[in-house]
């Protein structure tokens, strides 16, 4: 009874859990950390240059850790490498991706999260005060791809019906935004790797889009002068981005 009552007081349960059982902060029967069984790849220093230095997530959303602070890993997680490519599934798009410390691509579809809520009337996200439309459901994302561990550049994989292609962006507030070493060059490097280690499920590869809002303020000012600048919402000049590449990257 006491346990049940405690359980209905999430904050108290979380405090109790975190104070009393630090050893349980890891999942039971935790498996190995990545990479595993991968072919030898670039050295860590090279990976830092190619994809940026691994950093802790900027933050976690309220539902991305359970009451004991454990970060559930998406059950659809794939960690793509040249030795073991990932299989994208058009039916599960969109996906979130992150380059991990070992230079593999962790990728998860945005599927409903068991600790999240549904918002039939929409909601305002506290991290950036952005409005999310009615019907939004809290979903797995970059934190669920990495289990909350440090990651390099990250972004999204959107399937675009019109062109039947996957568009790759740097849209990750957890791992890309405001990190100085998440540049357009690093996004192109990551996109090249993604194209090499993922089966696109019969679709092609489309745009590689650098979203200015997920870089640094200095880079944003510079790219605002770029002749390739476009907007997701041209009327409001919102969602500025630059298309870096289109199609297969050599």
């Amino acid at each position: 009874m006491i346990l049940r009552q405690t359980f209905h007081r999430p904050a108290l349960a979380a405090v109790l859990g975190l104070c009393l059982i630090p050893a349980q902060a890891q999942p039971p029967a935790a498996g190995p950390t990545r990479p595993s069984g991968q072919a030898p790849g670039p050295a860590a220093g090279d990976l830092d240059t190619l994809y940026g230095f691994p950093v802790k997530p900027a933050y976690l959303k309220y539902y991305e850790a359970d009451l004991l602070g454990r970060v559930p890993i998406s059950p659809y997680l794939q960690v793509a490498s040249r030795a073991f490519p990932a299989c994208l599934d058009l039916a599960l798009a969109p996906y979130d991706w992150v380059i991990d410390a070992g230079g593999n691509v962790a990728v998860v579809p945005e599927t409903p999260h068991p600790w999240g809520h549904a918002f039939p009337k929409g909601y305002t996200r506290p991290e950036d005060r952005s409005w999310h439309k009615p019907g939004t459901v809290d979903s797995y994302g970059h934190a669920g791809a990495m289990g909350g561990q440090p990651g390099r550049i990250g972004g999204e994989l959107l399937y675009e019906e019109e062109t039947r292609t996957w568009a790759i962006s740097n849209k990750s507030a957890h791992y890309s935004r405001k990190n100085p070493d998440r540049t357009p060059d690093q996004l192109v490097n990551a996109a090249r790797l993604i194209q090499q280690v993922m089966d696109p499920d019969g679709a092609g590869w489309g745009d590689v889009r650098y979203l200015l809002g997920y870089g640094t303020p200095g880079l944003k000012s510079k790219l605002e002068q770029d002749p390739r600048l476009e907007y997701q919402n041209p009327a409001k000049k919102a969602g500025a981005y630059v298309v870096l590449k289109t199609g297969v990257i050599q």
Binding site: A58, Y62, A65, F84
Partner: protein, 220 residues
């Protein structure tokens, strides 16, 4: 950790075990069984997914095999997964023999048998450090080790003349397991168990010890 008194550790362990179990008592879409069955059948003490994207599997029954012309096979269960028939996902594990062992494997494909109007599923898992760890697809595996095809059919048990078998690839296996684990986890966690929303119905900021939680990471 060593400074903590033993009773506190016991309480902590009980608390940890009881949280998801308590949540399961009145699950929404899927009705989960009681605590004992959750532990023995659905293996709630072990998560399904590892950070390297291998799946955990607990071996139930060896299926035989020579180990020479074809790898040993075993049947196992994927923890914290549930299908529409109320059963956990069953996996065929390549190169496994020991009942009770917990192994990790990568899903290579999904096999189905339809017999007497009933469809059964088997996910094929290859431990990355096992004899089939270098394979990435079922087709590749069966091409190089044709004897496996017979072993896979035997993994469904006795078959009548009307049975039909199908085989799908890794994409379908990933989705199948992901759906089954999501179904279980969603049934285990109730609305009342989740972090509460603010009075305005919006989520509240959460500070996780492993994140930077820096003000400059937010657009505030």
């Amino acid at each position: 950790m060593s400074a903590l008194p033993r009773p506190a550790l016991h309480l902590a362990f009980l608390l940890c075990l009881s949280l998801p179990v308590a949540a399961a008592q009145t699950a929404n879409a899927i009705h989960l069984p009681g605590q004992a069955v959750l532990e023995s059948k659905f293996l709630v003490a072990t998560y399904a997914m590892n950070p390297d994207a291998t799946l955990n599997v607990v071996i139930d029954q060896p299926l035989g095999g020579s180990g020479k012309t074809a790898p040993f096979l075993a049947l196992g269960r994927i923890p914290r997964s549930i299908l529409a028939n109320g059963e956990p996902v069953t996996a065929i594990v390549l190169g496994a023999t020991d009942p009770g062992a917990t192994l990790r494997g990568r899903a290579l494909g999904l096999l189905t048998r339809t017999q007497d109007g009933r469809t059964e599923y088997r996910v094929v898992l290859a431990p990355p450090d096992g004899p089939c760890g270098r394979y990435t697809t079922l087709d590749q595996l069966e091409k190089e080790i044709p004897a496996l095809r017979t072993g896979f059919r035997l993994a469904f048990g006795p078959t009548t003349g009307t049975a039909s078998f199908t085989q799908q690839g890794r994409k379908d296996a990933v989705r199948f397991v992901g759906d089954a684990v999501t179904a279980f986890e969603s049934a285990l966690v109730q609305e009342a168990d989740k972090r509460t929303l603010g009075q305005d119905g919006n989520p509240m900021l959460y500070r996780w010890p492993g994140a930077r939680n820096a003000a400059d990471s937010r657009d505030e």
